[in-house]
């Protein structure tokens, strides 16, 4: 190696070292939510430090093309959160969109078994495209439900989850009116408002929400927006994402990949 080659090598070595160092720091960042492949049976190791809500900010990613409409997330949610089984109360539900060649759009909630939604043998020839859209509370950054609650029974936590204190809720239902996404309902047992909590009781312990846990195709990705290594941040980096009803400026934290313009 002559002097010239050595100097050339130096020019390459230092910037490359900087890049590698940055990557190493990246690897060091902790993933706060366990890998999605973990099954419900594996108990999480309790963290050495107490849970600090300030260091988390949760959201969900949904990959439309991966959803097969199996409805397992809906069933898991109902079981996990003791949601009424009757088909009028949902913390999460699945919509099926069938877009016809003539521009007609037929939407159905496959989670509701009504007379109309009985499986009909559709003539495939007039179908342009079809897909499923999982829906749930968007845990908005500017939640209109929190704004209107007269008693502060519904609130956003520091870690970005919109929750309801059912012991304080007076059942006025203003929040249900204010939610643009139809995510809320009045639980007839408690006469108070209810909705998706991102399975906060599980998330606090380092577990995934029930719907994410059971999804067989990993169409749902849960994660921490504050952690660079989280699956959600990676999801947001790898996909072009969109949210529901962006014009209302609620800033949802449920991010959809491959979302069709017909979805509202």
């Amino acid at each position: 190696m002559n002097k010239r080659d050595f100097l050339k090598g130096l020019i390459l070595f230092f910037p490359a070292g900087g890049v590698l160092g940055a990557l190493a720091r990246e690897l060091d960042a902790k993933e706060t939510v366990p890998a999605q492949t973990g099954t419900a049976g594996t108990a999480p190791k309790p963290g050495p430090k107490a849970y600090d809500p300030k260091s988390h900010y949760y959201g969900m990613g949904i990959e439309i093309d991966k959803c097969i409409g199996c409805n397992r997330c809906v069933e898991a949610c109902k079981a996990e959160n003791n949601v009424l089984q009757e088909p009028f109360f949902f913390r999460t539900w699945i919509e099926r969109y069938v877009i016809k060649k003539d521009g007609d759009v037929v939407v159905e909630s496959i989670s509701v078994k009504s007379k109309a939604s009985k499986e009909t043998s559709q003539d495939d020839s007039d179908v342009l495209r079809t897909f499923f859209v999982p829906k749930l509370c968007n845990h908005c950054v500017h939640p209109p439900c929190v704004q209107v609650c007269p008693v502060g029974a519904t609130f956003a936590t520091e870690d970005g989850v919109v929750l309801i204190d059912s012991k304080r809720c007076i059942g006025c239902r203003y929040c249900i009116q204010a939610c643009p996404y139809g995510a809320r309902y009045l639980d007839p047992r408690t006469k108070t408002a209810d909705k998706c909590s991102f399975c906060y009781h599980r998330v606090r312990q380092g577990l995934l929400p029930a719907c994410v846990e059971v999804c067989p195709t990993q169409a749902r990705i849960f994660g921490d927006l504050r952690s660079k290594a989280s699956r959600l941040v990676r999801f947001a980096r790898m996909n072009k994402i969109h949210v529901l009803k962006p014009s209302l400026n609620t800033e949802p934290k449920v991010y959809y990949a491959q979302l069709d313009g017909e979805v509202r």
Binding site: V107, P144, V148, P150, I170, K191, T192
Partner: protein
């Protein structure tokens, strides 16, 4: 969950057209929430009519001044009841006063209400009636004398200076009262108008439309009560007074109609994302209550009747008959207005893809009968109030209290 409720919701599911979010099947704000803005509208309207006498010195309206005040009071006392009964957990209502959420329009209800009741209406009624209460308390015997004395808060001063102060106080309260009445009902409109999730409600015009329709309904109610009272007491109706009030009513209906028409045209012209579903809403679900009841029977026909009554130079009996018909139709129209706002806003999905149905309960705490009772209750309260507080000023030759 009760099987009846499940059964009821399943039936509604079959009436859904298009797609709705699954949680939307249950209509949240029922007939009681229709009654609430209707009643507060009557309060605000009646008070504004009363204010015309004191602030703008419309002498013709003097015969209805006290009646209008008492009407406002009777209806205001009932106004919180539909809200309370509608709550899922009515026993927790006090939370709204103890820990109000400052960003919530609804949380302000308790404060707006308390201010209007205690800061405005009760004060004005007290100053207006103070002298009469003293006079009556001195003249009468037994329980009623004590009631009157207690209502006067045991004041005894009927000197000219004291009466002059009463008049000054009433004027001052009325001047504060008019914006307060605007606040009371404009605020109710704001509760609906500020919901951006709902395109049928979310409109900056909503508080103003509410206010104008409140004035219409309040004036119409006072005319109705004044004529009924005269008939019951077999007294002559003060025709100049009636002619003047109905003129105000006429103009108020025109302004109200113009505002609603503006709102309608604006929506149609802007033609936003929601315009298709709102079009379906008004043609499929609200045709009867919007086009027939609210606009035709509640506005056009009464306007026609008032025009005929005013310009055909009818005799007194003819005018009275027409006025009476018009005010009843107007009441019907304003109730439909409230229905169309409250129920109409909940009959289309926020997915803008489908329409829901509302099946009113008959019995039950949120049913038809409860609504009827709540609408009748203010009239009962008013009957009691009129017994205790005469609608006519006592004549001056009354003996001085002992």
């Amino acid at each position: 969950m009760s099987p009846e409720m499940a059964q009821g919701l399943s039936e509604l599911l079959d009436q859904v057209t298009g797609y709705i979010y699954p949680n939307e099947i249950e209509l949240q704000w029922s007939i009681l929430i229709v009654v609430y803005p209707y009643i507060t509208g009557l309060v605000a309207g009646a008070f504004i009519l009363a204010s015309l006498v004191k602030v703008f010195n419309v002498k013709d309206l003097q015969p209805t001044y006290r009646l209008a005040l008492l009407t406002a009071l009777a209806f205001l006392l009932v106004a919180p009841l539909p809200l309370l009964l509608h709550l899922g957990r009515p026993e927790r209502f006090y939370e709204i006063l103890l820990t109000p959420n400052v960003t919530s329009a609804m949380a302000m209800f308790g404060f707006v209400y308390a201010w209007y009741l205690m800061g405005v209406l009760l004060l004005e009624v007290w100053f207006e009636y103070r002298r009469d209460l003293i006079v009556m308390g001195g003249r009468e015997r037994g329980l009623i004398a004590w009631i009157h004395r207690a209502l006067s808060l045991f004041s005894t001063d009927t000197s000219e200076a004291a009466l002059a102060f009463d008049r000054k106080a009433i004027r001052g309260i009325t001047i504060i009262g008019i914006p307060s009445a605007f606040l009371l009902h404009g605020y109710v409109g704001f509760i609906f108008g500020s919901v951006k999730a709902n395109p049928w409600w979310g409109s900056v015009l909503m508080p103003i439309v509410f206010l104008m329709s409140a004035i219409v309904s309040g004036i119409a109610l006072v005319i109705f009560l004044y004529m009924m009272l005269a008939a019951i007491r077999k007294e002559p109706v003060d025709m100049p007074c009636l002619d003047t009030i109905t003129s105000y009513l006429f103009y108020a209906v025109i302004v109200d109609f113009s505002l609603e028409a503006l709102d309608f045209i604006h929506r149609l012209y802007q033609s936003e994302e929601s315009v298709k579903i709102l079009g379906k809403l008004i043609t499929h679900k609200l045709f009867m209550s919007l086009f027939v009841l609210q606009i035709l029977i509640g506005m056009f026909i009464p306007l026609g009747i008032l025009v005929v009554a005013k310009w055909r130079k009818l005799n007194e009996d003819g005018r009275k008959l027409l006025y009476f018909t018009a005010v009843i139709l107007i009441q019907l129209g304003i109730f439909s207005t409230r229905w169309n706002v409250v129920i109409g806003g909940q009959l289309f999905s926020k997915s803008f893809r489908g329409l829901m149905a509302y099946k009113m309960e008959v019995m039950g705490i949120e049913g038809f009968l409860a609504a009827i009772v709540l609408l009748a209750l203010p009239f009962v309260i008013l009957a009691v109030l009129i017994r205790v507080l005469p609608t006519k000023r006592l004549v001056d030759e009354a003996p001085k209290p002992a």
